[in-house]
């Protein structure tokens, strides 16, 4: 059990030392699209976590049978199928959630973190480790999204999750924060801080 939560375990390391966004610089595109407010950032982070975990498990189970030359296609098909089925089920049984998620479905399928983890981890490791790895990377991604979403919503709208935090009576909202470019600048700052704390050379 102690191994499960050690710094190097597939579950914990992506949260900090091996963060998919801050260290591997994956998934930047969606970090840009959904972080202007906190709520979509959280929703997107959780969806990616769930999908990464499941697709990692499936690919890990199939890994010995997948022909090497078409492995990327197989991975893509698995991810796309999974996302489509999940969105269909949601549409039938949780319509409100599915309406909220509809925008993200395409973004999840093409998220490079998914492909990256499938290719780098699930193809070589067993289902259980792969599941942990998927959850860990999804949460690591969610963490960055939440930080960026937090900063952008707070200063861009003066609200958090829709509740007014900085009263509009004296706080003039910063329109720059709402612009997509700002999310890249904030991600850049997060990576900077992350490297300053952890030391770049340790790798």
């Amino acid at each position: 059990m102690s191994k499960l939560f050690s710094k190097e375990s597939p579950l914990v390391s992506p949260l900090n030392l091996n963060n998919p966004v801050a260290v591997q610089v994956l998934g930047i595109c969606s970090a840009l699209a959904v972080t202007s407010q906190l709520e979509p950032a959280i929703v997107m982070g959780l969806s990616v976590t769930v999908i990464t975990a499941f697709s990692n498990v499936i690919i890990s189970l199939l890994r010995k049978t997948i022909p090497n030359r078409i492995r990327i296609i197989v991975q893509l098909v698995v991810v796309a199928t999974l996302v489509t089925i999940v969105s269909q089920v949601l549409k039938a049984f949780a319509y409100d959630v599915s309406v909220q998620l509809s925008v993200y479905v395409g973004l999840i399928i093409t998220n490079c973190i998914l492909m990256g983890r499938l290719e780098a981890f699930a193809m070589q490791n067993g289902p259980w480790e792969s599941c942990l790895d998927g959850i860990g990377n999804g949460l690591g991604y969610a963490l960055i999204l939440v930080i960026v979403g937090f900063v952008r919503e707070l200063f861009g709208f003066g609200t958090l999750l829709g509740f007014e935090v900085l009263p509009s009576s004296w706080y003039v909202t910063n329109g720059m924060m709402v612009m997509p470019a700002m999310s890249l600048i904030i991600v850049g700052c997060v990576i900077w801080a992350h490297r300053a704390i952890n030391g770049e050379e340790k790798k």
Binding site: P67, V74, V77, V89, V99, E153, F157, G175
Partner: protein
């Protein structure tokens, strides 16, 4: 059986029955000689245990089987859930129409019941559907509108007072606008700005529109969403275009040419005469 050996000094390989004392080619010491393990002889039997996952046949069969399985799976999921999904979509549409009439907070069966109670009839104008509603005794028109946003389609419902002078409420939906920006047209604070907004400008033209947030200069201009100018423009075009589609109902010829001061009166008359016409039909 002869074994293969390789000399690490001269790089030559040669055959011998057992490890020689010296390399027969360069005469180097036996410590520099290694036995070469035949890769093919060792590995071939192992490979035959499993399928050769790199062969063309395997790859093609694998791809074909995968596609068939996935196709069946998706078709099965899609068709088995279709009825429930359609019911959800229908109910959602009803809810959207109710939202445009500022009736909020309903869920499940309550939506169907309220819809049946409020919407009195569905009518058509030149092939475009619209709805008549009765909210607490007041007659309202609900006009469906369609348009284009930044990334995809927009749609909405505009409810209008019986006298056709002001909008009563609005609902907007979108296919794929940017979350947190354009997607905010879906939020109630934006839609509620349409409650009580005048439709006509001083010249009697349909003028209701959406402008950049904060740039509002007349009552018929609605504040757009900050940071989502293109989506807001899409909403403006959709609202304005949509009202013009139903222009025959909303305004009749005299309204447009009426002098400024009489606009409201004339528009009201137009609406009355039209209302009478509609009822006669």
């Amino acid at each position: 059986m002869a074994k293969k050996f390789k000399c690490n000094i001269c790089g030559q390989t040669f055959e011998a029955d057992s490890m020689p004392d010296k390399c027969p080619i360069c005469m180097a010491d036996s410590s520099n000689i290694e036995e070469v393990v035949e890769a093919s002889a060792e590995n071939k039997p192992a490979k035959k245990k499993g399928l050769d996952t790199n062969s063309n046949v395997y790859t093609i069969v694998y791809a074909a089987v995968m596609v068939i399985i996935v196709a069946f799976l998706l078709a099965f999921v899609s068709s088995s859930l279709k009825d429930i999904q359609e019911a959800n979509v229908l109910r959602d549409t009803k809810n959207q129409i109710l939202l445009s009439l500022n009736i909020e907070g309903l869920e499940g069966q309550a939506i169907d019941d309220k819809y049946a109670e409020v919407i009195t009839s569905e009518k058509e104008l030149n092939g475009n559907k619209y709805y008549m509603a009765n909210v607490d005794g007041a007659v309202k028109y609900v006009f469906p509108v369609k348009g284009r946003g930044l990334w995809g389609g927009l749609w909405g419902y505009l409810s209008v007072d019986e006298d056709m002078l002001h909008t009563f409420g609005a609902y907007f939906g979108h296919e794929s606008e940017t979350a947190g920006l354009g997607a905010r047209i879906n939020e109630r604070w934006f839609q509620q700005q349409f409650t009580g907004a005048p439709i006509f400008d001083a010249e009697g033209n349909i003028a209701l529109t959406v402008v950049k947030a904060g740039a509002k200069s007349a009552d018929y201009e609605i504040d757009g969403v900050t940071g989502a100018t293109l989506t807001s423009n899409g909403v403006a075009a959709m609202v304005n275009g949509g009202l013009n589609v139903f222009g025959d109902i909303i305004k009749v010829a005299p309204c447009a040419s009426a002098p400024e001061a009489e606009v409201e009166e004339v528009a009201a008359e137009c609406a009355d005469s039209l209302q009478a016409e509609v009822e006669n039909n």
